[in-house]
């Protein structure tokens, strides 16, 4: 069975500082990996995805994520955090074979302090 772990329920960072939101996955075969953001009272919005190719994936709003196969990780990063980045972030994974249904992590609340 596939699983996604987001070890931090909450991440606090000061505006202007770099941020990292962690994600590790467990899927059979090669993974397809996704990050979504959810603002209050809104649905999830797609940020970026990794399918194959470069390990560093760039997405919306200046976010990027690094795929690390040996560590089975797909951490979300941004060089300089904004207060408006404060939201709930979800990592998701799908195996290359088998079910096309993604497995989501528990979500990490990012709080950027002014």
């Amino acid at each position: 069975a596939q699983s996604v772990a987001q070890p931090e329920d909450q991440v606090n960072v000061a505006e202007g500082n770099p941020l990292t939101v962690k994600c590790t996955y467990s899927v059979s075969g090669n993974p397809y990996l996704f990050w979504y953001v959810q603002y209050p009272n809104r649905g999830l919005q797609f940020l970026l995805k990794y399918i194959t190719g470069d390990n560093l994936v760039k997405g919306s709003y200046g976010f990027e994520a690094e795929f690390n196969k040996s560590q089975t990780s797909f951490h979300l990063k941004k060089p300089s955090a904004l207060v408006s980045d404060s939201a709930l972030y979800f990592c998701a994974a799908i195996a290359s074979g088998g079910s096309y249904i993604p497995t989501f992590g528990r979500g990490t609340s990012l709080i950027v302090h002014p």
Partner: protein
């Protein structure tokens, strides 16, 4: 990219009643899903809504409790039946055109229905 309209956005219901949530996509999509999101927990897939046939339910969810319709490629409904306080949650509609792994379009989500049962 697809835009999903979900309604109602929130509701407060009495125990034992039922509520139907509607999900409208502005373009035809092959896959539609219904999720439940509870505070501090991940998204839980309730079922895949299949056009023209019965929905495919995940473990722990049954048709009698969560009947789903999908009459065409742009619309689906989820009914939460005989509600109890344990059903208080956010219910999210989601859609994707094709296989998420290979589609150029990401998985889209509605803004959710925030349901409270008294």
């Amino acid at each position: 990219s697809a835009v999903i309209s979900q309604k109602p956005s929130r509701d407060i219901c009495q125990r034992g009643t039922s509520l139907t949530i509607q999900c409208q996509v502005d373009s035809q999509v092959t896959m539609m899903f219904w999720y439940r999101q509870q505070p501090g927990q991940s998204l839980t897939l309730i079922a895949t809504a299949n056009q023209g046939s019965e929905a495919t339910y995940e473990s722990g969810f049954v048709i009698d409790k969560f009947p789903i319709s999908r009459p065409n490629l742009t619309f689906s409904t989820l009914t939460v039946s005989n509600m109890s306080p344990e059903d208080s949650s956010i219910y999210l509609c989601s859609a994707v055109d094709g296989d998420i792994r290979h589609s150029n379009q990401p998985q889209h989500f509605g803004d959710g229905t925030r349901l409270s049962i008294l």
